[in-house]
């Protein structure tokens, strides 16, 4: 059973996490991840009936070390794709919390709309999908242990995935 308090804690966690991403506070964001975090954005392929998730190819397939590397890169003065930094807005909705396999874990599904605007382009880019998150309580605090983002796109409509979803 998911209590209203638990649900509120989870929502608070996700909103806080989105705030850190949108404000570019990546070191603080990293602190919200477990040591064994997995972060995956699968390639989607339109099949004859349904869209199929390509199990063996992903747009991002990260562990803690590779996420740290991406962030160290963003912190250099030469990450041109994000210099000047994009303006991003993570819109989260339809947040559903389900019990996890372990008592200290919950599964969270939510809809994500990410809007990015760069430089003086009047045209913003957007990308959407469903986040499938596994949160774990570590020393009394929620941490992100796994994120799978199921994109709504087979052809990614943004110039690059230089931002985190």
């Amino acid at each position: 059973m998911i209590s209203p308090e638990l649900e509120r804690e989870v929502v608070t966690f996700l909103l806080r996490e989105a705030e850190l991403l949108d404000e570019g506070r990546y070191q603080e964001w990293l602190a919200l991840l477990t040591e064994d975090v997995r972060y995956i954005v699968p390639v989607q392929v339109t099949g004859e009936v349904e869209t199929e998730q390509e199990v063996s190819m992903n747009h991002l397939d990260e562990d803690r070390a590779s996420l740290e590397l991406r962030i160290r890169r963003l912190e250099t003065p030469y990450a041109w794709a994000e210099r000047p930094r994009s303006r991003t807005r993570h819109f989260l909705s339809n947040i559903r919390v389900y019990p996890g396999e372990r008592a200290d874990e919950v599964l969270v599904r939510s809809n994500l709309l990410l809007v990015r605007s760069r430089g003086d382009d009047s045209q913003a880019e957007w990308i959407s999908g469903e986040r499938q998150d596994l949160l774990r309580r570590v020393n009394g605090e929620w941490r992100l242990a796994r994120r799978v983002v199921v994109l709504d796109h087979s052809v990614v409509p943004v110039r690059s995935l230089s931002m985190l979803l």
Partner: protein, 431 residues
């Protein structure tokens, strides 16, 4: 813009190592490219491992037109224009699958996976037995040919064979595609994304540009993932393989303790020694540190170790003068150790493709050039393609084509542009 003798002048400029910025964002040039390059040249559409079984298909683009690339029940690979012969409805709306037949959703004409028309609703009643079904099969691209598993399509019936088209480039493609007798396999599906970039910019970049690495990828230089030695491209060769195909190969500098054969695992190295057609290819592969190149017009390949070796194919699919869909495949030797395949895949995902830490910055650059290229100033704006113009080809180079003894040059970009120009102004590029 084209009326004002622009093309003629451009041709003369290219010979002097000068291009005009406007060619990277001009609707009239794009129209010419559609007809004169993409409807003639051999365009890469798929790797054979993507459609191993009869009936397997992928939907791919030749220029901006959709083709079903399918292995028919007769085992032959065809590229069928994805339009119903009755009234032109797009026949296949998925990106890949398995099909014995295709049913048109408009009126129900049905085709076999070999393209034959086999079913017409109310055929007897409505056509009075006068419809000759044999004449109304799907339109098949006149040339569909493979080299080492790479499937190319040419829409020009006059085109020579693929082998002739690739010419000397086959020697260099062998280095990437013939390590294993089991061949390469595409892992999963290509990543696809759309960028506001003129398709020529990445094609030229991959064919030629080792010069950009230190600046465009400087964030990775700082993190130790790209060479920090400004001399790195001095240890290499810059090859024009003929017919506009070009590549650069970086060699291991003598003072760096990098593993031979790009650090491929033992079984792969043993296999390549058996499988390469010549000893000279084995020797080149032994000291190779990276391979970047473009098969004219829009297939680029990259084989590098960062630090795990990986291989990617990419197609710069034009969608307009300032829009390109990037297709990026990851491939690995089918019989390589599983653990290596996994690490090679991870290296690819982290460095190239939609989220790649290298490719993100490349796209930013190509996008920035395209954005500057669309206006009247750009019509008069000369670009400098003269890097390394003073270098002479290396007469001792063992492979086909002409090779400069270092990879700091824009000779391949000049070669690429010259070929591009030749297609644009020729009624028949095969003469």
């Amino acid at each position: 813009m084209l009326e004002q003798g622009f093309l003629k002048e451009l041709g003369e400029k290219i010979e002097q190592g000068i291009a005009i910025l406007r060619i990277y964002n001009d609707p009239e040039i794009y129209e010419l490219e559609r007809k004169r390059i993409f409807a003639r040249a051999y365009i890469f559409v798929a790797h054979e491992s993507e459609i191993p079984q009869p009936g397997d298909y992928v939907v791919r683009y030749v220029g901006d037109e959709s083709y079903i690339v399918i292995r028919g029940e007769d085992g032959r690979i065809r590229a069928l224009f994805n339009a119903c012969r009755h009234r032109g409805m797009r026949l296949c709306r998925s990106e890949k699958g398995q099909a014995k037949t295709f049913l048109c959703p408009y009126h129900g004409w049905t085709y076999r996976n070999t393209g034959e028309l086999i079913g017409v609703p109310a055929e007897k009643e409505a056509y009075g037995g006068r419809l000759d079904k044999a004449k109304w099969g799907l339109y098949e691209a006149p040339h569909v040919e493979s080299y080492n598993g790479l499937i190319f399509v040419s829409l020009d019936p006059r085109a020579p064979s693929l082998k002739e088209y690739l010419g000397g480039m086959t020697w260099y493609l062998d280095l990437l595609t013939r390590r294993s007798s089991a061949g390469l396999e595409v892992i999963g599906a290509p990543q696809r994304w759309v960028v506001d970039v003129n398709w020529k910019l990445p094609a030229e970049n991959f064919s030629s540009d080792a010069y950009h690495t230190l600046m465009t990828h400087r964030s990775l230089v700082q993190l130790g993932m790209a060479p920090s030695d400004p001399q790195f491209a001095m240890y290499g060769t810059h090859i024009s393989a003929g017919n506009g195909h070009a590549l650069g190969i970086g060699f291991i500098p003598e003072h760096l303790p990098l593993p031979p054969f790009l650090g491929y695992p033992e079984p792969v190295i043993n296999a390549l020694k058996r499988n390469y057609p010549s000893e000279a290819q084995v020797q080149v592969a032994e000291k190779m540190q990276f391979w970047h190149g473009t098969v004219f017009p829009n297939l680029s390949l990259l084989n590098a170790a960062l630090p795990i070796p990986f291989l990617t194919f990419r197609v710069w699919r034009p969608m307009g003068p300032n829009r390109t869909e990037i297709w990026s495949w990851f491939l690995v030797e089918r019989d390589a150790p599983e653990d290596f395949k996994r690490r090679s895949y991870e290296t690819y995902v982290h460095t190239f493709g939609t989220s790649g830490v290298f490719e993100q910055d490349d796209v930013e650059i190509w996008r920035g050039i395209t954005a500057m290229a669309g206006g009247p100033t750009a019509e008069r704006f000369e670009l400098n393609f003269q890097l390394g113009m003073h270098f002479q080809p290396d007469p001792t180079w063992p492979g086909p084509g002409t090779a400069l003894p270092l990879d700091y040059a824009e000779r391949n970009e000049r070669v690429w542009l010259r070929e591009w120009y030749r297609y644009l102004v020729s009624e028949n590029p095969w003469q």
